[in-house]
């Protein structure tokens, strides 16, 4: 009789939460609300609003500022026909590949890997230097590089005995790529340090006993073990690099747009150029490119699991 009672549907409808915290869906929802509200208001709303702005002729000043008109996809047509946009996109890809994927990830991994074999003091020193570059506020960091690369008084010219070389004008892309590597390597280093720490030593030892070289150990033991970390790291670095505005503080996109990556291009179109609508349209295009990148990474991540 008791069994029959317990099995009745009334009992089953008030099922207890089935998670470790005893939260249940409602509890979880309550926990999520404050964060989601903030994100919704200050992240999602602006993003959606950008979609709307991208279809107007909204301008910073003048008539269209007071009364923006809906113009459909006109902005997109204009942007996609603009050679400057395509150049900017190309520069951005070079920037992301050079400074993010190759530079930060690779250098970060190499430093993390090397640190394990360094004496304590040297390890601490290098770690501190790399972290300091990351932690220093970007406006300070960029001024440090302005000072280093300065044409007349810069330390680099003094060191290399190349007086008068204007690095930021002659090699603008290389400059911002190296600058960005300097700024961001710490994140990859930290992440890979912890990932490498989690590689089971027994696996490394058995591969060493089988006579594997350092390179073979990396390929057969380390990389497979930290694949997830590599993916996450590369994804985050790619997105961050894609959207960073900091190079503006070094070259302001110049000379003549030679280092005008997309965020700088948007800024120059929207604020000094005053075309807020067009700026929003480019922002949206950028968001779509980011989405594609993220989806590709998630695809690779999923393949790994199966």
């Amino acid at each position: 009789m008791a069994t029959a009672h317990a099995r009745s549907s009334g009992r089953r409808s008030r099922r207890r939460p089935d998670d470790v915290a005893g939260l249940g869906r409602t509890g979880a929802g309550t926990f999520l609300v404050p964060a989601l509200a903030l994100i919704g208001l200050f992240l999602i709303f602006p993003a959606l609003w950008t979609i709307y702005l991208g279809m107007t002729d909204y301008r910073l000043t003048g008539l269209a500022a007071a009364d923006p008109q809906f113009i459909g996809l006109e902005n997109y047509r204009q942007v996609l026909a603009d050679a400057e946009f395509w150049r900017s996109l190309r520069l951005t890809l070079i920037f992301v590949l050079g400074s993010g994927v190759l530079g930060q990830t690779l250098l970060g991994f190499c430093v993390a890997w090397s640190l394990r074999r360094l004496p304590r003091l040297a390890k601490g020193l290098i770690e501190t230097l790399v972290l300091a570059a990351w932690v220093v506020p970007t406006s300070v960091g960029s001024f440090l590089w302005l000072a280093l690369l300065d044409r007349h008084e810069g330390t680099l010219n003094w060191l290399l005995d190349t007086p008068g070389t204007a690095w930021l004008i002659e090699y603008p892309m290389a400059s911002i790529i190296i600058f960005n590597i300097w700024v961001g390597t710490a994140f990859s280093m930290l992440l890979f340090s912890s990932a490498l720490g989690a590689v089971p030593p027994s696996q490394l030892e058995s591969s060493r006993m089988a006579g594997a070289s350092t390179w073979q150990q990396l390929r057969d033991v380390v990389i497979p073990n930290i694949r997830g970390h590599i993916l996450t790291n590369t994804l985050l670095i790619t997105l961050w690099t894609f959207n960073t505005f900091t190079p503006y503080l070094l070259t302001a996109g110049g000379p003549n747009g030679a280092s005008e990556i997309l965020p700088v291009y948007i800024y120059r179109t929207a604020i000094p150029g005053g075309q807020l609508g067009v700026g929003a349209a480019i922002s949206l295009l950028m968001l779509l490119i980011n989405l594609v990148i993220a989806l590709v990474y998630m695809r690779i991540g999923r393949e790994k699991k199966t």
Binding site: A2, T3, A6, R7, R14, R15, R16, P17, V20, G22
Partner: protein, 355 residues
């Protein structure tokens, strides 16, 4: 103190996998009860369902007279010691033990005093200010036990309580656990995959496989009269000899010889059965015997006071435990002798024991 009773208890995971599949069991007040089975058999899920950590999909669970099927874990009067002990690393020993009392809003001074009291009772004197990380495995386990019993629970649940200890400590802890349980008289359910542990500790045990109970009984019953071939081969330090054969001339042919029918059983000639006998209950004879299985020894493994002998007769391999001084060497020929009182028959179709 309380009884625990389940009726057709089912735990189904999303996707339809059943961790526990219709378990009916009643555990008596004050009993020391073991849930035994291979990994993935659902024993831990059943324990966690009793604790309330898994929501029960179907069936009921009573603790004492109360239906707690849908009760929150904190309302059931159960305490549990986890396999990894789950001692909070950021609290010292006394705070760990006193944590349940903190939830029950006992005053700080009072609960510290109680914690120290319980700790002393479990041979943890002088450790109350240590962090769990500074304790040995055995001490950690006793702290976890102390935390569990400090609440004076009606039911104590232990998940693989001895598996994180090294072999020497394990024996010590086993004795300690049994004493503690007897002193407290608290209804205790523990999960283990180690049959020796279950036999040694439990008043009664339940053997599980694939979410279902295979047999519930005292250690003697489960060891001596396993309900089916699964239990027969799972219990015992060396598994029961199981031979599929066909009854002939009122006896059981095994290998190149015969063994007697188990006591009290009559079986028609021509019936197919599985004959089973524990290695401990078989005898080795160097001289010819009237009813026995002629065999040749292939391996002898020394177990200390005794030896485990593997003998081959025809297609069959039989294992028997003999006193160390009488152990035959490899290649020796002789007879394996079974006792009618100590052997069993199982049905090959259902794998159930034939009575």
């Amino acid at each position: 103190m309380a009884t625990i009773a389940t009726t057709t208890l089912v735990k189904e995971y999303p996707g339809g996998v059943r961790g526990v599949d219709g378990v009916d069991v009643t555990i008596a007040d004050g009993e020391f009860f073991a849930l035994l089975g291979p990994s993935g058999c659902g024993k831990t899920t059943l324990l966690r369902s009793i604790a309330g950590l898994e929501a029960i999909t179907e069936g009921t669970l009573h603790i004492g007279e109360v239906d707690v099927t849908q009760a929150e874990p904190g309302e059931r009067g159960v305490a549990m010691v986890f396999q990894d002990y789950a001692l909070f690393p950021h609290m010292d020993v006394a705070d760990n033990i006193a944590y349940p009392l903190k939830i029950k809003k006992v005053k700080k001074s009072e609960r510290r005093a109680k914690a120290v009291d319980v700790a002393d009772g479990l041979a943890l004197d002088g450790l109350s200010l240590r962090r769990p990380g500074q304790l040995s495995g055995g001490q950690q386990q006793r702290v976890a036990l102390a935390r569990a019993v400090a609440t004076e629970p009606e039911v104590l649940l232990l998940d693989e309580p001895l598996s994180n200890l090294d072999a020497r400590l394990r024996l010590e802890a086993r004795t300690f656990l049994k004493e503690l349980q007897r002193d407290l008289g608290v209804t205790t359910v523990f999960v283990t995959h180690d049959q020796a542990e279950a036999l040694a500790l439990a008043d009664r045990l339940a053997v599980m496989k694939a979410g279902r109970l295979q047999q519930v009984g005292t250690p003697q019953e489960v060891f001596g009269r396993p309900a089916n071939t699964f239990v027969a081969s799972f219990i015992g330090s060396s598994p029961m000899n199981l031979v599929t054969t066909t009854i002939a001339d009122g006896a059981v042919p095994v290998g190149q010889g015969t063994v007697p029918l188990p006591e009290g059983l009559t079986q028609a000639d021509g019936r197919e059965v599985i004959w089973g006998a524990r290695p401990e209950y078989l005898r080795w004879s160097a001289e010819e015997v009237p009813v026995g299985v002629p065999a040749e020894v292939s391996v002898t493994e020394n177990l200390g006071a005794s030896a485990l002998v593997t003998a081959v007769s025809g297609q069959e391999k039989l294992q028997l435990v003999v006193p160390e001084e009488d152990a035959p060497g490899p290649g020796d020929a002789g007879w394996v002798v079974a006792s009618a009182r100590r052997s069993l028959l199982f049905d090959p179709e259902t794998t159930e024991r034939i009575d």
